[in-house]
Amino acid sequence: MTERSMLETEGLRARYPDIFERPASSRLAWPAMLLGAVTIFVVGLIHLGFSPIRMWNGLHELGWISMMMLPPNPGSSLPLYLSALGETLSIALLGTTLAAVFAFPVSLLAAKNIVPSNIFRFPIRRFLDTIRGVDTLIWALVWINVVGLGPFAGVLAIALSDFGALGKLFSEAIEGADKKQVEGIRASGGNVLHEIRFGLMPQVFPVIAGQMLYFFESNTRSATIIGIVGAGGIGLQLAEQIRVLEWQKVSFLILMILIAVAAIDWISSKLRFAIIGRRAVA
């Protein structure tokens, strides 16, 4: 460092003491937080039964399993797996649609600009939160108890847990809508239903359609999960093959899921573009 820059630093230090001499609390905040986080992490590792030897053995086993998975091979059950995949996609589509159909009217009640009074809105919001707080897999187990094993329970589980999520998102979309159109309808003598249909719907429909497509995508993933507890679809096959250690079939099923999800991603991004148009991009 040259002499001049030293002098400059001294001058700066004199002029901005706050930056050069921060109080200990602000200097130590980050290291303290980091230390705390790492401490909990290490305690957690020990508490949860991690040990180097277990890790090593597990990785060894995992490597062996990965070797067994290659090459992916469905054996003679390809038709069965394809129909299971179809079942999963059906579950996702029906679940999303059902959720949206029920969520829309409820979201109107939960939107501040439709129902200004807090009395209805607050309990509805908490109700939606409660439904969302429970995992889809738990809902699937509940529905299996109610309607028995099979894809129908899966449809209802996805419909119920998405009902909570979509209701919240829809009501946010409705609250974000422009008031002017609605006021215009009211000024020309429309009633409340007219306001919703002609003032609100044209604004929120693209948003809702986009969210439905997004949920359909993520539900393809969820639908594979709920099969594991017995709600039909490809997850059921996957869980069974893992339990009987048929690793080539397992890897084939995982591959099928990956391809299906990628395909749905691609289709829904095209559809979303067609429905929402360039507005969403800009």
């Binding site: 986080a37 992490f41 949860l48 890790m55 990785l59 059906s90 589509l93 707080g133 129908f152 996957l238």
Partner: protein
């Protein structure tokens, strides 16, 4: 009274004068308008028809029967009725100690659930953090490496975490370790992608400035990229932690630790009041975590804005 389209409306005493077009021109315009509307309607109708056809095919595929739904709906309501009834036939809230009899065991398991998601999120975040600079377009050292890392992350987040848990339970044995590793893998994929997207949106000028002084790649990442994205990374990580608490609560279904094992036993063995008690505790925990991380996120971003 003047209106553009015949039969639109006779709105009585409109004060504004609109210039009326000659009939011929009007007819032509109306034709074009009608054609445009007809085309739009056709498109919407076709779209709706395709959608309904897909629904019908799907309902055949998923063995849906409306009649069974209506019969079963009563079951659903009575199921919840049973959930809220104690063994002695009274409502659960009349005898809270009896309802929450196992709260000590359940709290311990919920604590384990939170710990699973904490350790899983943190290790996933650390690994995702290490990988994301290689996956972001503007900081990646090479396109081939970037492609490989991106596909790896895609794999990690597309395969559901519970599938990983199922496999890990076989490899690592029953217990929370499998759950932690499954959540770690999933978090690497999900967080790595979000981190990388964030890094792609940064201002590149500090990076260029640093590189012009001869700084190494790692120094560039540390001093030019990280300060721009740290708060965002923290926010995404907290959000992921929240999501992971939810998924850790069901890891026990496949034997990977946490409260899930207790819940699935209660559901499978029809211990109705236990199911509702455990569900209540899970929902409360998720609420508390939601609010806590929301508060923390607000504080992190608030701090960022002040400085």
């Amino acid at each position: 009274v003047i209106h553009l389209f015949p039969g639109a409306a006779d709105s009585g005493t409109m004060a504004i004068a609109v210039t009326i077009l000659p009939d011929q021109q009007l007819a032509a315009l109306n034709d074009i308008y009608r054609q445009a509307v007809a085309r739009r309607r056709l498109r919407v109708t076709l779209g709706a028809a395709v959608f309904f056809a897909a629904l019908v095919i799907a309902s055949v595929g998923a063995e849906v029967n409306l009649k069974t739904l209506f019969t079963y709906f009563g079951h659903f309501v009575s199921y919840f009725d049973r959930l809220l009834t104690l063994d002695d036939g009274r409502r659960v809230w009349t005898n809270i100690p009896e309802w929450l009899w196992g709260w000590k065991k359940w709290s311990r398991l919920l604590g384990e659930t939170i710990l699973i998601s904490y350790v899983g999120t943190l290790s996933g975040a650390a690994l995702g953090f290490a990988l994301n600079f290689l996956a972001a377009e503007n900081t990646s050292p090479g396109p081939r490496l970037r492609f490989i890392i991106k596909r790896l992350m895609e794999f990690c987040r597309t395969v559901p975490d519970i599938v990983f848990a199922l496999i890990f339970v076989i490899a690592f044995g029953l217990g929370p370790m499998a759950g932690v590793l499954a959540i770690t893998i999933h978090s690497i994929g999900a967080l790595g992608k979000q981190y990388a997207e964030m890094v792609e949106n940064i201002d590149m000028k500090p990076v260029e400035g640093l590189r012009s002084t001869g700084a190494s790649w790692i120094a560039c990442m540390r001093f030019a990229v990280l300060p721009q994205v740290a708060a965002g990374f923290a926010s995404y990580t907290l959000l992921r932690f929240e999501i992971n608490v939810r998924s850790a609560s069901v890891m026990g279904f496949v034997g990977a630790g946490g409260i899930g094992v207790e819940l699935i036993t209660a559901i499978r063995k029809f211990y109705y009041s236990d199911v509702s008690a455990i569900l209540l505790m899970i929902i409360l925990t998720v609420f508390v975590i939601d609010i806590g991380t929301g508060w923390l996120r607000g504080r992190l971003f608030g701090q960022e804005r002040r400085t």
